[in-house]
Symmetry: C2
């Protein structure tokens, strides 16, 4: 690294205001999702929670809305769900109607998204249900502890405890771990933790638009601010969530922001994002870091998709392609 950046003044780029029409280059279902996101009420800056009690209230409202999706998903993607505990951690074991006996030796662990604050309890299973349906595999969805009451390292410890229990009587190479957003970051943090402990790693990982840089440095935090219809601005809420989660460890800890970790020796990994995704850069940077470390990695990008929209536009063919790619990747790379 030379000192060019330090000794020259760098010029910022001015981008004018613009109007983004719903593109004709995606399916009608995804067009409708994009349109709905544009017309949905936005989180007003002044309404952003400030105190712990305000955060709890904010989370309760958001989670109730997310949980209301569960019966819709259950109708479209039939499954049974067992709420249980593994190693003292709340989990939901999801068995899809599409369960494929030929894949019964493989199992998936899902770490849900939500910025380490949202999507607990009944709101935790959206991605897990879709993942189970498209893979034909059983999914253990981890309802890990979250901020503000349980900052880092509670989530990593919960994921680790479930991992240890699931792999106690099973080949770790037959277990895949997947997650979106904070769940993608947590998937990487868990794998970094396993590596540091000298434990066997999962057989494969799937990272959906993973939140890997909680410092906010990624270029797409600026470029796709207000372009993304789901996670519209890092500065309005992401930075607060990052601070609440990181706690005393700070946002540069590699188990909080895995982009600062060393991915050498990681298992095959598939990463998914969209062109409107505010975490497009987080995903791309994680992919490039993995490739630079010699990891077998695959990058999937979807036209005009916002952050995690493959979950919320669950009726779109693009969602089926995204989950289908993940399912095929696990099927290929997991032992068993």
């Amino acid at each position: 690294m030379d000192d060019a950046a330090a000794i020259h003044t760098l010029t910022a780029r001015k981008v004018p205001a613009k109007t983004l029409n719903v593109p004709t280059t995606v399916s009608p279902q995804l067009q409708r999702s994009i349109s709905n996101l544009a017309s949905a009420p936005r989180l007003a800056m002044e309404r952003m929670p400030r105190t712990t009690d305000e955060w709890r209230a904010f989370v309760a409202v958001a989670d109730a809305q997310a949980a209301s999706l569960a019966p819709i998903l259950a109708a479209m993607f039939p499954h049974t769900m067992n709420v249980m505990q593994i190693a003292g951690v709340k989990v939901r074991e999801i068995t899809p109607a599409s369960l494929d006996p030929a894949k019964s030796g493989k199992v998936l662990i899902n770490l849900h998204g939500g910025g380490y604050l949202l999507n607990g309890g009944d709101a935790s299973t959206g991605e897990a249900v879709l993942g189970a349906h498209y893979s034909g595999m059983k999914v253990i969805s981890v309802d890990y502890r979250m901020a503000p009451d349980h900052p880092y390292p509670a989530a990593v410890n919960d994921a680790l405890a479930v991992w240890r229990a699931v792999t106690a009587d099973r080949d770790p190479a037959s277990v895949g771990v997947f997650g979106t957003s904070a769940g993608g970051g947590l998937t990487l943090a868990l794998t970094l933790k396993l590596k540091s402990l000298g434990l066997p790693l999962p057989g494969a990982l799937a990272l959906g638009t993973p939140w890997v840089d909680l410092t906010g440095a990624s270029d797409s935090y600026a470029v796709n601010a207000e372009v993304d219809g789901i996670f519209s601005s890092f500065d309005s809420i992401g930075r607060s969530m990052a601070a609440l989660y990181a706690g005393s460890a700070g946002v540069t800890d590699p188990l909080v922001s895995p982009i600062f970790g060393d991915f050498a020796g990681f298992p095959p990994t598939i990463l998914t994002t969209g062109t409107r995704d505010i975490l497009l850069s987080d995903t791309v940077r994680a992919y490039r870091s993995m490739r630079a470390s010699g990891v077998e990695a695959r990058l999937e990008v979807h036209e005009a998709m916002s952050h995690a929209e493959y979950i919320y536009a669950y009726d779109s063919p693009e969602s089926a392609v995204a989950f289908g790619d993940v399912a095929a990747f696990f099927d290929k790379h997991l032992a068993g």
Copy 2:
């Protein structure tokens, strides 16, 4: 496809003006490139060429600037260059100092970019020189005829004539074709043409931020307008170039806009783009169409890169990674 999009009014998204700082997440060399692009004089809308003579003058100025890069690249990436004709088409045969005898059975054809108007003659070899250097293979750079004097199908016919001659005494599977922007689109058009003629296809393709939709429908034409520092606006110049090139065939002809073509049976293909690229969506859509057709395709995205910036930021480690990925892909997939 249901009629949901037709019967509902779709809501556009408003994005406020923003300032994009040079990101800290890329190398100092790429930071400098991004900064230089932000401070460079912009093409003023009112200065856009209107008449054929104005276009010729515009092209002459731009090509002289592009050609001035050649001696710099020659110093950094030593090679010999033979200006010659193949099947009546002007080409430049580039033999890199890095030529690898172990790869002497493989050869590459490069179709340069420039919107089917720019980068003719001495300006045509930037990407070819980099491709030759990083691959250790000989590259035949095609100086195909261009608009406004020679609209479609002149470029396709020139590429086809060179292809036929090069493969007359050589296994087509040992020949790779690569190109950026219009050169990426032309690579696809050539391969579609070969397929329609029932001729053998190249062993592998490399598409750098390929221009595949000359209708302007891709979402990133809007999202990354003025974000991209190299191809800043489709509406200011891209649409005019598209019309001049397409001529009477029109921009929806699959050999003009290959996104409307059928990629089934295509050879293994690597596609490269960046998060600030105005053709991010063109690249992603081409990749998804290939995957949907069962083509073995690989997508590479680079943090904060604008359109084709891996060529112009030739001194950056990111450029080396981009060309290194292409070289490894050709090495793996080409016969010989």
